[in-house]
């Protein structure tokens, strides 16, 4: 009699785990959490380099976002599959090999099908390898979680990173050159009334200041993100 609950418990747990629906509350949280409370750029401070350098125009920012989503989802899944086989001491090198092979794939793909954009992104596609978001999520999440969860976490974080990227690029291109995706959106009569494009927005320092302002707005809306001390 005493043995029954002991035997039941693990089996029950196992079934419970197996039966967890693909989009349970917990899994949905993996997707939505990075968007605000745990945003990779404005809260975790990961992956800043590329976020700033390629946001002069909307188009490269979107291409970059898609590349990061691809690399991150794939590498999270691969590391999660291999997580019990990787020796702890050399895990960083294993991460680097997985990520850099995926990035080399993306790089060659862009060179073949989107040469103009890949020229514009120059070394920053290569720098996805050292994008700390990917490394950070592999270390913090994929190494200890199942395949489906890691996949969701990868998509969620890469997407949240992309949102900030696109937001910054949107304001910089709109205010800096009056275009969006290379198409003029500010009508001519406004220019005739004396409106001028703000050339400062195209320079690199304004990317930093734009991100600073985004952080300011986010934190004044979401008080629990404010840093103490």
């Amino acid at each position: 009699m005493k043995d029954k609950p002991k035997n039941n418990k693990p089996i029950f747990l196992f079934i419970g785990k197996d039966k967890e629906p693909l989009f349970s509350k917990k899994n949905k949280k993996l997707l939505s959490d990075p968007l605000d409370d745990n945003n990779p750029i404005t809260v975790q401070v990961l992956g800043i380099c590329s976020a700033l350098a390629i946001t002069v125009q909307l188009e490269p920012a979107i291409v970059m976002t898609m590349s990061v989503i691809f690399v991150m989802a794939c590498s999270n899944v691969i590391i999660s599959v291999l997580r019990n086989l990787i020796p702890n001491r050399i895990r960083i090198i294993v991460f680097l090999v997985v990520i850099s092979s995926l990035v080399a794939l993306v790089d060659q793909f862009l060179k073949a099908y989107a040469y103009e954009v890949s020229k514009e992104l120059s070394i920053f596609i290569g720098l996805i390898v050292t994008n700390c978001i990917i490394m950070g999520r592999l270390e913090a999440f994929a190494l200890g979680n199942g395949i489906w969860k890691s996949f969701l976490d990868g998509i969620g974080n890469a997407f949240a990173y992309g949102i900030i990227l696109i937001l910054v690029a949107f304001f910089r291109e709109l205010l800096g050159s009056g275009n969006l995706m290379g198409v003029q959106v500010i009508p001519d009569f406004i220019y005739e009334m004396g409106y001028e494009n703000n050339g400062l927005m195209l320079l690199s320092p304004m990317a930093l200041i734009t991100v600073g302002i985004i952080i300011w707005i986010q934190r004044s809306r979401n008080k629990k993100l404010i840093e103490q001390g």
Partner: protein, 206 residues
């Protein structure tokens, strides 16, 4: 001759500063600049690793990977172009060099290891290091000494940036910053202003 090296050196420190012009190595720049002491340690480690890895990667790229580089083995290899491997090669060199440097420092200078040691593993994923090698690939240097000067200069530029921001952050801890801007937000805006300052170097013709 020397003039050309001096030009490259000044250019890589001020005009093409890793942090302010290309935003490379931003993550560690923001994470480790809370105190001046850590900032100096990280900056020195970056100078060290950049000066070693850029010329090393230059040699590997020039004699193994670039189009026609393998001609020295034999004429039948002259048409091989392995440059698509450069990314993986560079990152492997950087990761293994960082391990090697860490072991050497630990063995020969425990005091230096005490101040640099904890930062070295972080460097493998610092984009300034990989960025240095990737820029080297684009820039078409004429020799290994130019690559070394470029690596050293970029390292010094990064060092200057992190030391400056760490000193400012130590002071700003005592001032009255609006609460939502505290910490990360104000650091971003200050870095932006510093970058604006560094843009004035752009006018210099060398």
């Amino acid at each position: 001759m020397w003039e050309q090296y001096a030009n490259l050196f000044i250019k890589s420190i001020f005009i093409e500063n890793m942090v302010f012009a290309y935003f490379l190595g931003m993550c560690s720049y923001l994470a480790i600049s809370k105190t001046l002491k850590n900032g100096v340690g990280m900056g020195l480690a970056v100078i060290f690793v950049l000066t070693i890895t850029v010329p090393l990667n230059y040699l590997i790229y020039e004699y193994l990977l670039v189009d026609g580089a393998l001609a020295w083995i034999g004429p039948e290899y002259a048409e091989l172009d392995l440059s698509f491997l450069s990314l993986i090669m560079f990152i492997a060199v950087i990761a293994s060099m960082v391990q090697l440097v860490e072991m050497i420092i630990e063995k020969f200078s425990p005091s230096l290891y005490g101040s640099l040691g904890i930062f070295l593993p972080l460097i493998a994923v610092n984009c300034a290091i990989l960025g240095g090698s990737l820029f080297m690939q684009i820039k078409d240097f004429s020799g290994v000494s130019e690559a070394a000067v470029y690596g050293f200069g970029s390292g010094i530029g990064w060092f200057l940036a992190i030391v400056a921001i760490a000193a400012i952050r130590e002071k700003i801890a005592y001032s009255n910053v609006p609460a939502p801007l505290k910490g990360l937000g104000i650091t971003f805006i200050i870095t932006g202003l510093m970058a604006l300052g560094f843009m004035s170097f752009m006018g210099i013709k060398l």
